[in-house]
Symmetry: C2
Subunit: 298 residues, 2 copies
């Protein structure tokens, strides 16, 4: 049974009855599980995490958009978080038994249906992007809802699907496919923030480190320690164990030990199994040998 995760970001985080209606739209679809729903009033934004097979996940996204169209009007929407759509961002994420290519296909398929059913323009991003200039969410969203009509007047910002002007109340949607993100923090047995910052700089992509690592050094004041706070954007190509060992070695160079690590939120099973395989030097191991996986099949 393939598992696709989908994490829609919706521009509503203040009205509890609307948030509940949006959640209910997802829950109404058989074969999809709403794993998490968190709403931020300051951002006036909600993030849903759902999972299931391709077809029910697509149905849940369509139901969610229909509900958002009914309840959200961006012309009167305010909040701290940048947004260009009532349903702002919809990434499809391969978890198990499904390839990135299949998730890209699902994103395009869903985008086409959204455009024709709701007359909302859709931009494809990340692994589904139609050009490198559209890979990054921030580039597509720059100017936000308020600047969207002017931005789309340029042929350069023609949408991938749907009308060439924003939907009056719902703006546009950024839809695509990406790997699951793992929030992986490594705490150091020191209060030296400069060490955490130097290590973060050493391992992150933007300053010469690993391709799929974003990192920064932060102080955990209440505990009197520092942390290398890491986002792993592709745990298959930049695995946890490689990042962990690199942080440990860099820390040693300053006479500092790794105190512990932590995973914030959810992780795919495969990220942990791959760490076990690495350190135990496991050969010829298949996820099919995990008893719980057998129980989930079919």
């Amino acid at each position: 049974m393939p598992i696709i995760e989908c994490v829609p970001n919706i521009s509503e985080g203040r009205r509890p009855e609307v948030c509940e209606a949006l959640r209910q739209a997802v829950r109404s679809v058989t074969g999809v599980r709403l794993l998490d729903a968190s709403s931020d009033p300051a951002h006036n934004r909600s993030v849903f995490t759902m999972a299931g097979e391709a077809s029910p996940v697509k149905a849940a996204v369509l139901a969610l958009i229909a509900s958002a169209l009914e309840h959200i009007d961006l012309r009167t929407h305010t909040g701290e978080h940048p947004r260009l759509g009532a349903v702002d961002v919809v990434p499809f994420v391969p978890i198990e038994g499904v390839t990135m290519t299949e998730c890209v296909g699902l994103a395009k398929d869903t985008a086409a249906e959204v455009a024709s059913r709701f007359q909302i323009p859709v931009f494809l991003y990340e692994d589904a992007a139609s050009s490198p200039a559209r890979r990054n969410l921030e580039d597509i969203r720059r100017g936000e809802f308020e600047g969207l009509a002017a931005k789309m007047a340029s042929p350069e910002w023609a949408p991938d699907f749907g009308p060439s002007r924003p939907h009056p109340a719902a703006g546009a949607i950024v839809m695509g496919a990406r790997m699951p993100l793992i929030a992986f923090n490594i705490n150091l047995a020191t209060d030296r923030l400069d060490v955490a910052k130097k290590i973060a700089s050493a391992i992150r992509h933007s300053s010469g480190g690993f391709r799929f690592v974003k990192a920064m050094g932060v102080a955990l004041e209440d505990r009197g320690i520092v942390q290398v706070s890491i986002n792993l954007t592709n745990y298959e190509k930049t695995p946890m164990h490689r990042v962990f060992d690199a942080v440990r070695r860099e820390a040693e160079r300053y006479g500092v030990a790794v105190l512990e690590s932590e995973i914030i939120g959810l992780t795919p099973q495969a990220a942990l199994v791959s760490a076990a395989e690495h350190y135990l030097q496991l050969a010829r191991f298949s996820s099919n040998q995990i008893l719980e996986n057998r129980l989930r099949d079919r």
Copy 2:
């Protein structure tokens, strides 16, 4: 959703139609998955691996015994493997969301029903044993079916449930609860069998090693290497990482490197997650953070 594994060993491995009838008896129970069924003609024995919640697993064991009574008569049974019952051994194994104590309760509950419904004597073993003398399967089974009537004539071998004499055709059943067994082999980059044997001796319980390790050194002739072949009988109390690191250190002492390790057959997810937690120094991690586990919950 709690998961209990059950691994009945049945004294029939030659007649395909009987093996199929036995498998069908298990499959007929809703809520139980037959994960594996292997039959050995030389042993004239089959091993089934099934899993599910307590109540369907119990129902499947009862259905299996009813089918075995219909098809198997130990008075005409021959085979290389020792056995004292048509259904010979039935261990209940805690996998997830269930304690050993609950599996012991399930074993006793099932044993009571087997005794009253089928008039077969039942001996409890391993964690369900009524005395230390009955923990080991081999001690209970010594003398086999052919010696069972004489053995049970002694008050010392009164069964835990059921009649004090063997069932004429089906003998007795050894039922109980134990931890899942992990078959974990570590291959060494050498052809020196003495090194594998010395390491096996160093890590196994019987000669002073870890409490829940059985191990032996064997040569893998075709590959020109040797192997420390390990059965881990309680991965919670003697985890894989501790055994692996001990083998690596012992091998170093002979100038030998670990080539690789391998898991034969199935393993609970927790055994691998625990290795990842150890090597990555993961703190405050819960199996609830594994995305696939969320999907399985209710």
